[in-house]
């Protein structure tokens, strides 16, 4: 299984996801079950590509940018499905489908993604939990971002209760990912926290999400500001995740594994 095979799985998965998104709008009796079935089938098809890719690489596909984007699409659709099943928001599946497909398309149309082997610095038991937990939290927080946008555009929608639950779960996962990273950093770099650009932006993101909860408890009715705080937090998350590459100040980050070959 190589990157070349992604397109076949992606087309099949995209078909299921789009079909599921369409049926979610239907008012017929069994529409809910069809939606869940179709959407889950898409996730299974897409997930089986990642599994086969993992096996043929003989290592978890978690190293390069392209590989992390594979996971992002998977967890985004998974988080979307869970949100749909739990809170029955009809439009959430369309939005998570579009986002997931954007990341898949980037992978297909930007093949400069390479199959790099795992360098010594990344050979650690902390590696998989650190990255997957982060990926899942990114996906959950992306859902809160979409909900916040929807709430901002159509104030009649009451999305705050769903945002609250998703954000709580997302922030918890984010915290776990960050702390696993801290424990790993002590083993790899000698300190739990050294304000490396990635760490600094993770701290900013974390604090912004914590800020949202505090703002909510002092101004529970200020929906607009709450939505804005979530959007700002998600922007910080984008810088933390991949935006650092474009930030001049972040050159020389220890998290830049493409450059720091030796470590």
């Amino acid at each position: 299984m190589t990157w070349d095979h992604l397109i076949y799985f992606a087309v099949a998965a995209a078909f299921c996801w789009i079909a599921g998104s369409v049926t979610s709008f239907s008012n017929r009796k069994k529409a809910f079950y069809w939606t869940v079935f179709l959407y889950a089938a898409g996730i299974v098809i897409y997930g089986s590509f990642i599994a086969a890719f993992w096996i043929s690489l003989k290592r978890p596909p978690l190293v390069t940018m392209g590989e992390t984007r594979l996971w992002y699409s998977l967890f985004l659709t998974l988080a979307g499905l869970i949100t749909y099943m739990r809170w029955k928001y009809k439009w959430i599946l369309s939005l998570t489908s579009i986002m997931a497909l954007v990341f898949i398309l980037i992978n297909i149309f930007r093949p400069e993604i390479h199959n790099r082997v795992l360098m010594p610095a990344l050979q650690s038991i902390w590696f998989i939990p650190h990255v997957t937990v982060y990926m899942f939290s990114y996906a959950l927080l992306a859902c809160t971002f979409l909900l916040a946008l929807a709430g901002l555009i159509r104030p009649s929608l009451n999305v705050l209760p769903a945002i609250d639950k998703l954000c709580r779960a997302g922030l918890s996962f984010f915290t776990v990912g960050m702390l696993l990273g801290a424990l790993w950093a002590k083993q790899a770099w000698g300190d739990y926290w050294s304000w490396d650009p990635k760490e600094t932006w993770a701290a900013i993101t974390w604090l912004l999400y914590v800020f949202y909860f505090h703002l909510k408890s002092i101004r529970p009715k200020a929906n607009k500001y709450l939505y804005i705080s979530l959007i700002v937090a998600f922007l910080a998350l984008q810088i933390c995740w991949y935006g650092l590459q474009y930030l001049p100040s972040a050159r020389g980050s220890m998290h830049n594994y493409a450059l720091n070959i030796k470590r």
Partner: protein
């Protein structure tokens, strides 16, 4: 603007830490959510400054950052006095011990040569015995393995005694040892790998670099030696915050 760390070496940092706790208790009416929100905003602001600064400028070690962090810790502790939470306490402990412990922590980079013990200011010294790079079929490195012997610097001048090492190594070492000053005890042989630091005499030793052009035949390796006496408190704080984060899934 950088904080002079030596001014806060133990026990000054502990006294400052107790002052933070005392102020938190004294102003515990500040537990109000509004103060916490303001403290959070301040913390976000100073973190953003660091976020936009080049890597080599450590804004986090300057007075403005440390002042904001202290205010944050005071507000957080005042909150904890009236409304305890596991995650909050974990965060507080990790930040508190992280900030104060910096004054007692040290980081030393040592170039460890093959033929002689390194000259260091540490209470022990190192010598590279063997270096091995394992590669993938593609030629990219899979593992670096540096065998080093670590030895106390013993000012009393004990003569070195027997070690349990293979005979030929033993011989070679006896020769080298004859050249060394006779001021050392038994060396300890350890293997350094990336992600696998060695703990020795309250220090942690990390493999950092080697002469990549010479590969296995490198004449030296560079190690980083850290000492972080407060690390157990930071570790405890991280575990508590971790427990607090996981708790939200079950409530």
């Amino acid at each position: 603007m950088t904080v002079s760390l030596h001014l806060f070496a133990f026990p000054v940092n502990l006294i400052v830490g107790l002052c933070i706790v005392f102020l938190g208790w004294k102003f515990r009416k500040m537990y109000r959510e509004t103060y916490m929100t303001i403290a959070l905003l301040l913390f976000i602001a100073v973190s953003l400054v660091q976020g936009f600064m080049p890597v080599h400028i450590a804004f986090t070690r300057t007075w403005p950052f440390v002042a904001v962090l202290s205010v944050f810790l005071i507000v957080l502790s005042s909150r904890l006095f009236l409304k305890f939470s596991l995650a909050g306490f974990g965060l507080w402990l990790a930040l508190w011990a992280g900030m104060l412990g910096t004054a007692d922590a040290s980081v030393t980079h040592v170039m460890v040569p093959r033929n002689e013990y390194a000259r260091t200011s540490l209470p022990f010294t190192l010598r590279l015995e063997n270096f091995k790079v394992t590669r993938y079929v593609t030629g990219e490195p899979m593992e670096y393995r540096a065998e080093v012997s670590l030895q106390d610097i013993n000012p009393t001048g004990d003569l070195p005694s027997r070690m349990s090492l293979p005979a030929e190594q033993e011989e070679a070492r006896a020769e080298r040892r004859a050249k060394d000053s006779g001021q050392r005890k038994n060396p300890v042989l350890k293997t350094l790998r990336v992600n696998h630091p060695v703990h020795f005499k309250g220090h942690q030793v990390y493999l950092m670099d080697y002469d990549a052009e010479k590969g296995d035949l490198t004449d030296y390796c560079i190690v980083m030696v850290t000492r972080q006496p407060w690390r157990w408190l930071i570790f405890a704080g991280i575990l508590l915050l971790l427990a607090g984060a996981l708790k939200t899934f079950f409530t």
